[in-house]
Each structure stands twice: as structure tokens, then as C-alpha cells.
């Protein structure tokens, strides 16, 4: 996605490599790079996660924070009577790539925000939005999903979905007590109270059903998953497929389209997405469990990125 110009010889080398199933870094078309995941990095947020895709401590780096807020329901603002909402926002930091300086990242921000919204905002995400309603037609939870892209080395979309998934899984909301109190006329009115106890927190409902995304880049006549920066520079189209734990396809978004996917390739991509998603779910579970145990033990761990021996 970063504007990298390659010479015709480099492009040809990458394309022919992909077509013969051997990529420039030795991976085959469906191999993915290592993922590092941490959760609970932002203490002020209700949930947060940082995900890096890449080897030896360099790679695409995304930080996601979830902030929950109670909103008063007003008719006509488009919020359903008895459900909460999720608002996504993605920002590409200018420190990630030079072309993100100024307004350079605007289009990409919109595209990635759109992607997160498509995957996580709605029944396809598995999140139980009705549980996020506090009192119908009165108050509901708003979950602000704010993602910051800190480094770009190809494959932002996958890192973004991984980080968002981990952040939502680690989100804890304060408990809300709803009680009915008679008003002056003796009519029962529902009122709520947010319990201000840092230990009395609840998880989001249905987060374990959230999908995971696999991004395919079409290069030459074939496609690869988890494209590197150089591969993205020669890709003719990109497609992100979100797959739920039940192996249902929840969302598809394409981008960077110069030539698109052929229909034959398209059906192959959808099938491959499901097989890869199965592996990705177990990989995610492993990384998330590791991140959770780390979050408990090493909260004050200083963050250094200079050696690959230190994860972040």
C-alpha cells in the first residue's frame, strides 16, 4: 500500500517467483510471517492490543484501543432501539511511511475504517450488540475502536483485524445496574448506574465468535497471502476475506485494484480463505493466550524494538 517503486527486473523476479510458488523470502504462496501479539497495553482503555506481523522484530505494527462510553438514545440518530453500537476509526501514523505525511493517508484511513466496520459492526461479527443496550430507547454502550498503524511492511489489513479481535476479546466493561424507580406521578422509570469498581467488570458477549481475516494479493496469474511490501507493490488486486470460527464467510473487501481477480481465481480464493482461517484461528488462540499471560506478569516491561530477541 505504501508507494514503493520497483524496477521492471525486480517486478518480474517477484511475479515469476510467485507463479512458480517460491517467494522472495523463501515462503510459499500460502505461508504467513510470524505474529507478535500483546494485550492490555493502554491502561486507560477498556481493551487494547498491539499486533505485529513480520520476522525479526520488524514488520507491520498496529495498535488498537477500545473505549466504551454510555450514550443517551435519541430518536432519529439511526441507532436501533435496543442495541449498542461500534464505531471504528483507523489512522495511519506518518511515522509509518513517508507518504502518510499530511493528507497522504486519508484514503487509506477511510478504506481500512470501512474494512473494520464491514467485519466487526453487525451481526456477522458475532458480537451480541443487544447486550450492549442498557435501557431500550434510553441508554446504550458505544464501543470506539481506534486503531493506529505504527509501521507498514505489507499486510496492514490482517494485522488490523488481528489487533482489533484481540482488543475486543480483552475488553472489559464496567457492570451496569438497572433499577426501576417511581417518578413524581408514580410511573415506574428505569434508571441505571455504572458500577465504579475496577474489579467488577464484564466481558463482551459473543466476542469468541468474531471472524478473522485473510488477505490475498493477486500477483501475476497467482495469488499470495500475507504479502510483503515489495509484493504489494506489484500486486494487481487485494482481497480481504473474513471468516468466522464456524467457517462462514462474513465479509469480503477488495482494494488496490488494478486488474482484479479472475472469476476462477475468486472461487479458489474463497475456498483457500476457509482452510487458512482454520489455521489462523488456532494460531490466534495460541498468541492470545501467550499475550494474556504476559500482560499479567510483565506490565512494566519496557518497550524496545532494537533487537528481535525482545518482542516489542
Amino acid at each position: 500500500m505504501a508507494s514503493l517503486i520497483l524496477s521492471p527486473a525486480e517486478q518480474d523476479y517477484i511475479i515469476r517467483g510467485v507463479e512458480s510458488g517460491f517467494r522472495a523470502d523463501g515462503r510459499s504462496s500460502l505461508d504467513r510471517r510470524e505474529v507478535t501479539l500483546r494485550t492490555g497495553m493502554i491502561s486507560q482503555a477498556n481493551g487494547s492490543a498491539r499486533c505485529r506481523i513480520g520476522n525479526l522484530g520488524v514488520g507491520t505494527d498496529v495498535l488498537v484501543g477500545i473505549k466504551a462510553e454510555v450514550n443517551a438514545w435519541t430518536p432519529g440518530d439511526g441507532v436501533p432501539e435496543s442495541s449498542g453500537v461500534l464505531i471504528c476509526n483507523v489512522e495511519c501514523s506518518p511515522s509509518a511511511a513517508q507518504e502518510f505525511e499530511g493528507r497522504g493517508a486519508e484514503e487509506l484511513n477511510v478504506e481500512l475504517t470501512q474494512l473494520l466496520d464491514r467485519i466487526f459492526n453487525g451481526p456477522q461479527s458475532g458480537i451480541d450488540f443487544e447486550k450492549l443496550c442498557i435501557i431500550p430507547k434510553q441508554a446504550y454502550w458505544v464501543l470506539h475502536v481506534d486503531a493506529l498503524v505504527l509501521d507498514v511492511r505489507g499486510g496492514i489489513t490482517d494485522a488490523l483485524v488481528w489487533a482489533t479481535r484481540a482488543a475486543l476479546l480483552s475488553t472489559r466493561l464496567p457492570r451496569v445496574v438497572v433499577e426501576s424507580i417511581p417518578d413524581d406521578n408514580g410511573v415506574m422509570q428505569a434508571e441505571f448506574d455504572v458500577v465504579d469498581d475496577p474489579d467488577d467488570l464484564t466481558e463482551l458477549d459473543g466476542v469468541e465468535n468474531m471472524p478473522i481475516a485473510v488477505t490475498f494479493s493477486r500477483i501475476g496469474r497467482r495469488f499470495v497471502v500475507d504479502a510483503s511490501e515489495q509484493e504489494e507493490a506489484v500486486a494487481q488486486a487485494r482481497m480481504t476475506v473474513a471468516v468466522s470460527p464456524k467457517m462462514d464467510i462474513c465479509a469480503v473487501q477488495k482494494g488496490g485494484v488494478l486488474r482484479g481477480f479472475m472469476p476462477t481465481l475468486f472461487s479458489e480464493v474463497l475456498q483457500t480463505a476457509q482452510t487458512i482461517a482454520r489455521e489462523e484461528f488456532s494460531r490466534f488462540e495460541k498468541c492470545y493466550a501467550e499475550a494474556k499471560s504476559q500482560a499479567l506478569s510483565q506490565i512494566d516491561e519496557p518497550s524496545t524494538g532494537s533487537t528481535f530477541l525482545v518482542p516489542f
Binding site: P8, A9, Y13, R16, F22, A24
Partner: protein
């Protein structure tokens, strides 16, 4: 003042210390400020993160990370960023782009030939935006910009391989920057930190056909050749992350140590850590 006049305790304090920006290095008035430092209230502070170096009275800090600063005669690998009138702008990983003048390249068909107006019109057929060139630093401009030249048969456009970027300070200047490794891979180790890893093409082949200097077409590269190129590239990535000097010897060490592992696993945490220890031990043993 002689070096002996400086109290030995401060002299020892200064030697090989690692500092961060804003660290006070010394307040001894005997010292002079060098590169990477600034003075305030008679104290010398570091302006970069790096190692303190002292040459007699001159205190300077050598940064751990820095951009490439050229010297005449350096062999570099650069990427064309702009085609201008009679010149190309070349990204050489430096503070500013280098310049390759039309008069500093060899034109196809006859080594010595006058540059014609028609050559100026077809500059893109020689080098276009994005192309990688293998060049030598010819001279400096008044503003410190580099002027490059490709007036030798071994210089010119790079093809048949891939680029690896490393920290420029890890590449020492040496007699030769073009190596053919025993595993049948050519590497061009640019002093600016751009390293080109490619399939071995005999020099005689290019000499016989001067059109090849500006060719964009790759030769046929078999899967096993691709694998060797990828292995070398991954080894260079690893050396870069280990902050080890990148020379043909260290690359060969890493390559030999990597042979038991699959290419795609070289950069995963377990294998990389394992390899890192082997390579460092071998390099220590050698020195």
C-alpha cells in the same frame, strides 16, 4: 596540550561509553566538541545516540544509526527516483539524493562516443524511475550531494535478483564490493546499505553484448537458484538485525550455518536465535 595532560580518570570515562541525546559527556574545558555533540554552559552534550569517541582533545559521538555519508570512490547501489534534463536523481540512502549525469554513463554501442541530443531524448531507455543502478561515487557537489558514475563494464542496471536493505554503517569499505559467492550467487554490497543479491551471470556474457547493460529482462532463474538467492537474502537480513558487519565472509558464515534449516524458517524466532549464536561464535573465533 598532550593527551597525557588530561587526567586519566576522565580519559577512561570517555572511552567507549554509550550515550543518548542530551547526555552530558564532560564539563572539562580541555576538550573540544566534535560531530554528534553540542555545547551548553561549558558542558559538552551528546546530540545523538551512540558511542563516545575521543581523538586527543576532540570528543565526538558516533551514532548507532545514521544515513549513508558518501566518500569518493564508494561503490553504491541506488534507485532512480527522477529523470531530469541530462541527469537522473538517485536514491542512495543518504541525506539527499545523488545525481547521475548523462555524461557519466557508458552508452551502448561503443564505450567512447559523443553524447548526442538524441541520447538526451531517450534517457528513459537507459535508466527509468525505479531502476536499480550499481555505480561509483565520482565527486561531491558544493551542497554535499553525490555525483555518481557508471563508466565501467561492471556497473550499470541490476537485474536477476532482489534488494536487501541494511544499516549503512554495517558495510565496511573494502577492496571489492562485488562478490561471486561459492553457492553461485552474485552480491553487490553497496556501501550505502543497499545490497543486491542475484543469480550469477558470467562477466564475459555482459562484455560480449553491451546491450545487456541496460536490459530490463531477467534471465531464466530456476527454483533452486531462487532458493539460494532467498537464503542469502534472509542471511543478510539476520546479520543486519544482529548488528554484525556485513562482508562476504560474514555472509558466507551465515549461509553455511543456515544450511540445515529451510529457507522460510530462517527468520522465525527460534531458528534465528539459534543461528545468531552460531554466527556470532564463528565470527568471534575468526577475529
Amino acid at each position: 596540550m598532550q593527551i597525557d595532560d588530561i587526567p586519566s580518570s576522565t580519559a577512561r570515562d570517555l572511552a567507549s561509553r554509550i550515550v543518548t541525546p542530551g547526555t552530558a559527556i564532560t564539563s572539562d574545558p580541555a576538550y573540544m566538541r566534535g560531530h554528534g555533540t553540542f555545547g551548553e554552559n561549558d558542558t559538552i552534550y551528546s546530540s545523538v545516540a551512540g558511542a563516545v569517541e575521543r581523538i586527543n582533545k576532540l570528543v565526538s559521538v558516533r551514532p548507532l544509526k545514521q544515513r549513508y555519508s558518501g566518500e569518493i570512490g564508494d561503490i553504491v547501489v541506488g534507485r532512480i527516483t527522477e529523470v531530469g534534463s541530462k541527469r537522473w536523481r538517485v536514491d542512495v540512502n543518504s541525506r539527499q539524493d545523488g545525481v547521475l549525469l548523462l555524461s557519466s554513463i557508458n552508452l551502448p554501442g561503443g564505450i567512447q562516443r559523443r553524447k548526442l541530443e538524441s541520447d538526451e531524448l531517450q534517457m528513459r531507455t537507459f535508466f527509468a524511475e525505479g531502476d536499480l543502478v550499481f555505480a561509483e561515487v565520482q565527486s561531491f557537489f558544493a551542497d554535499g550531494g553525490l555525483s555518481l558514475h557508471t563508466r565501467s563494464i561492471q556497473y550499470g542496471k541490476l537485474r536477476n535478483g532482489q534488494l536487501v536493505t541494511v544499516f549503512p554503517q554495517l558495510v565496511p569499505r573494502s577492496r571489492s564490493h562485488f562478490h561471486t559467492l561459492p553457492c553461485g550467487v552474485d552480491i553487490v554490497v553497496g556501501v550505502n546499505g543497499y545490497i543486491w543479491v542475484s543469480k550469477h551471470v558470467p562477466a564475459a556474457k555482459v562484455e560480449a553484448n553491451s546491450e545487456l547493460i541496460y536490459s530490463d529482462r531477467n534471465e531464466h532463474i530456476s527454483d533452486s537458484e531462487r532458493e539460494t538467492i532467498a537464503r542469502i537474502a534472509n542471511c543478510i537480513h539476520l546479520l543486519n538485525r544482529l548488528y554484525v558487519k556485513i562482508t562476504d565472509t560474514s555472509i558466507i558464515f551465515a549461509y553455511e550455518a543456515s544450511l540445515p534449516h529451510a529457507v522460510k524458517d530462517l527468520l522465525t524466532k527460534e531458528v534465528a536465535t539459534d543461528l545468531a549464536h552460531t554466527v556470532k561464535a564463528r565470527l568471534l573465533q575468526q577475529s
